[in-house]
Amino acid sequence: MTGNGTITETQRDEAGLAHAHEAQLSAALARCAAGDHAALQMIYNSEAPKMIGIARRILFRQDLAEEAVHDAFVRIWSAAASFDPHRGSARGWLYAVVRKPALSIHRNEHRYDASDDSALDIDCEATVTRMPETSALRQCLEGIDRPRRDVVVLAYVHGMSHGEMAGRLKVPLGTVKSWVRRSLFSLQECMG
């Protein structure tokens, strides 16, 4: 019984841990809504590094990413009551909350332009392959031809607008918009 954990058991443990962590985050959000500041710090300790990472993929600069995470936590504190655990995961909600100020800072201060070096670091393929092979999203994205599927990564992960993607991919704006529509439609069909 002890010390003979199979792969299946390990995976089950990881799933169990993820489930417990999700429950903790969900409970912490409820405590934030009730004004418990210690719960906000618990969320910060657990999720801020990942949130910095998400913001930096959009903003590239650490100071701007921290600005976005600051704004996100102010928002978490004031709007924790609007999190509905029946609608989706606490983690998904937190990441959506940090994407919002990150996008807004990006639109206001950090538009990509032709001479922007940071945009050269973007590797859509690496992002896709970083997802586990079991991920339905990865499998479905890999079912879409490049560069059509790149628009999903460029927009969602790096916060690019239609215009920025058109510039980077060197195609007309209308083409980018149609790629977005068709890629999302494919994902929905594939993932259900």
């Binding site: 998400i54 999203l137 990865r138 977005v180 929905q188």
Partner: protein, 254 residues
């Protein structure tokens, strides 16, 4: 393809673009509003977030600078009912905070209230001496001793005697007392059996009396009060002679 399909389709497209971060300006604002008042749209947004969540998981965990939590703690020290009206308004849609008419009205109302307060304060200062006298009088109006006078036979309460700190004593009848012709009611008090009862009032009818105890010692606990029926003009011998109608002992009022 029916109307309904078209609507569902466009709602889902809008939700997908919202989650992808592809909406800007008025479209973005409209989507945020729908998040709070359109359950179907909010469901579609949640579904898209779940679909794309694995991409979030590919982000590196990067250490924030040590000062970041302190800044967040500063910005969130108070539960944001007061310090973050903008955020709350954004959360709930337009509120009173955004209503310039309300604030204009509140401003004018505030100035008017302040002026009224000045008028009231000036008046209050002018009458403060009067006010103080009235407050003292009010304090003195509370009796220090109360006696309930009861009929021994029927146990009915017939009158109350209140004794005040300034020496006043009043008798308040609780029921009408029949006074036969040629007779009178006499009120007595007894505070020392060696001295015996003293007359404090003679009256022809049952009414509230301000009693004169100035020549008597201050009222004490257990001081006895009684009402007797006496010949017209009062007892001829200075002692109760008629039947006792009501009597009771004074107790200190709380």
């Amino acid at each position: 393809m029916s109307m309904r399909d078209d609507n569902t389709h466009s709602t889902d497209d809008l939700a997908a673009d919202y989650v992808m971060g592809l909406l800007e300006g008025a479209e973005l604002a409209a989507a945020e509003t729908r998040m709070t008042d359109d359950a179907e749209f909010a469901r579609a947004v949640s579904a898209w977030r779940e679909r794309l969540a694995d991409l979030d998981a590919t982000a590196e965990a990067l250490a924030p600078s040590a000062a970041l939590w302190d800044r967040i703690a500063d910005s969130t020290r108070i539960k944001p009912e007061i310090p973050l009206p903008g955020a709350r308004a954004a959360l709930r849609g337009a509120t009173l905070w955004d209503n310039i008419g309300f604030w204009r009205g509140a401003g004018i109302g505030g100035v008017f209230t302040a002026l009224m307060l000045v008028v009231v304060l000036i008046g209050a200062l002018a009458t403060s001496r009067q006010l103080r006298r009235e407050l003292i009088a009010l304090a003195q109006r509370k009796p220090i001793y109360v006696a309930v006078l009861v009929n021994d036979a029927t146990k009915e309460a017939g009158a109350i005697v209140n004794t005040f700190s300034d020496g006043r004593v009043e008798l308040i009848p609780l029921r009408p007392i029949d006074v036969p012709a040629g007779r009178t009611l006499q009120v007595w008090t007894l505070w020392d059996r060696s001295i015996g009862p003293k007359s404090i009032a003679v009256t022809s009818q049952s009414r509230t009396l301000q009693l004169d105890l100035e020549e008597l010692p201050e009222a004490v606990p257990d001081q006895q009060f009684e009402i007797t029926l006496e010949p017209e003009g009062g007892s001829p011998i200075g002692q109760p002679t008629g039947p006792t109608l009501f009597k009771g002992n004074a107790a200190r009022a709380l």
